[in-house]
Symmetry: C2
Subunit: 278 residues, 2 copies
DNA sequence: GGTTATATATCGGAT
DNA sequence: ATCCGATGTATAACC
């Protein structure tokens, strides 16, 4: 882990710094006043302003303002960084083909330019995904409905892969579509496409049930499911159990710390900070 | 535009630096070895590694590794930053309620900590959105089909807002759904929901056409449109005209700076292969 | 605040 | 390479 930083460099010094960083495979940040020009899947222009530009060795580039989680301009991994000085000004360019795209960041002033040698082998471990919900149902199919028997996951159909395909207690085919969060009309439509595909596959004589599984459902989606003869089962992706209602105390105990203050303000804890722990 | 940077600060010095930056409304970056812990809509853990953490004055926080465009962990705008030192180590915490979420970044080592005073009043101007496609059709409805007359945009229905509602040359109701890029089955389903809603609204006697407008369509979606009696019209969102075939160069070039350094390849157009239309 | 749909979505898996 | 769906999607518009 090393950092190499130039403060208020000349554009030419910044260029040399950048090229060496690219060569080493470093991650780079540049902060300065710049304009941005993008042409590719869409086209955009951004006038002068102060921004933080991040260049990653995998070819990604991010241009961040002081607002939003999403960069104001960017390029995904796989692009090629290049830098140059034109008319005495640093130009950082990112290009790719397929699709043909170009992102230009033209600096009026470079306030800081840093190169970071990154060592990161850890992988993110995440709980609460749709895959977790699937595992819950497969390991205990009764949470879906008594007697449900999963037969296949990712079963292919004319409309795409069905999350879980199985049979109910009566041996009727069941299409199960999983969502990790509250579902709207598009999830209902997705389920319908799969059910329709199996109807076409099995013929009209064979009944096919469709069950949407998610922690909750919007009213419009629930109406649509009703109209189309589809079903909904409420399950939480983290627990695999029906979500707890919060209208009255139905707490499953989470012995949590008392909330110190109303929200209000900054609350930057002091140094010795013994703030609660989670 | 000012930058205030600490190199290899003590955790306590970094804390003071951070709190002053929060107070000023600066944007902040921290580079160092850290672990990350998230609990909210889902739950995640990330073991030790070198990352770039960006804190914005609007409450966003981004944790970036040296790969991907998407941060490995983050928090959207509106969250509250706080920092503290525990056991001699810098802890950066972001919290919000509704949903209840917490992100902790615990540093083993702080390599660099920078605060940026950002001045950015420019807004992004972007061309090629779905809104642009709509304007093209509204200003010249014949590009959709001869005699088409737009009557309403964002027309409400039981299934949601219809992009463009109008009549064809015969006075038949037309639902138009717009997409800025190649469409798949979900767009076809979306159109179907709107057409179904108008059928319920108008009754079975009244015919309702559904037209999906996009630069191209996948085969599975085209099949679905066929089955459901829906239509497709190929239009480019930037030009509002039928997309050009890419079998030969149709470069519209953009008299730009000469390409300074190596890497010459350019203009190998392609994009998304567009298939037929329906 | 919830709902709905868009996005230069990004990303991953399957074909 | 395209297709397809998941994402802690984020973001905006509308109610």
């Amino acid at each position: 882990m090393t950092v190499n930083t130039l403060h208020r460099p000349t554009h030419r010094d910044a260029l040399v710094h950048l090229e060496a960083a690219f060569e080493r495979g470093d991650m780079v940040t540049i902060f300065g006043r710049c304009t941005v020009d993008y042409d590719g899947r869409a086209t955009s222009e951004l006038g002068p302003g102060d921004r933080l530009v991040v260049l990653k060795p995998d070819g990604s580039i991010l241009v961040h303002t002081d607002e939003k989680r999403t960069p104001v301009n960017w390029q995904p991994p796989g692009c090629t960084h290049s830098a140059s000085v034109r008319d005495g000004r640093l130009l950082v360019r990112s290009t790719r083909t397929s699709p043909d795209e170009r992102l230009d960041v033209q600096f009026e002033r470079v306030e800081q330019c840093s190169a970071y040698a990154v060592d990161d082998r850890s992988d993110l471990e995440l709980v609460g995904s749709e895959e977790d919900l699937r595992q819950h149902i497969l390991s205990d199919p009764d949470v879906l409905e008594a007697g449900f028997e999963p037969l296949e996951t990712e079963r292919q159909s004319d409309a795409g892969a069905i999350d879980i395909f199985g049979e109910d207690a009566d041996g009727v085919a069941v299409v199960v579509e999983l969502k990790r969060r509250r579902v709207g009309p598009s999830a209902a439509s997705q389920l319908r496409r799969y059910v329709d595909a199996l109807h076409r596959e099995f013929g009209d004589d064979e009944p096919v049930r469709g069950v949407l599984v998610a922690p909750s459902v919007t009213e419009r989606a629930a109406d649509m499911l009703d109209r189309e003869g589809l079903e909904f089962v409420a399950l939480d992706p983290e627990t695999g159990e029906p979500p707890v209602e919060e209208d009255d105390g139905e707490s499953r105990d989470e012995g949590e710390t008392a909330d110190d203050d109303g929200d209000g303000n900054r609350d930057t804890d002091d140094g010795d900070g013994n703030r609660d722990d989670a």
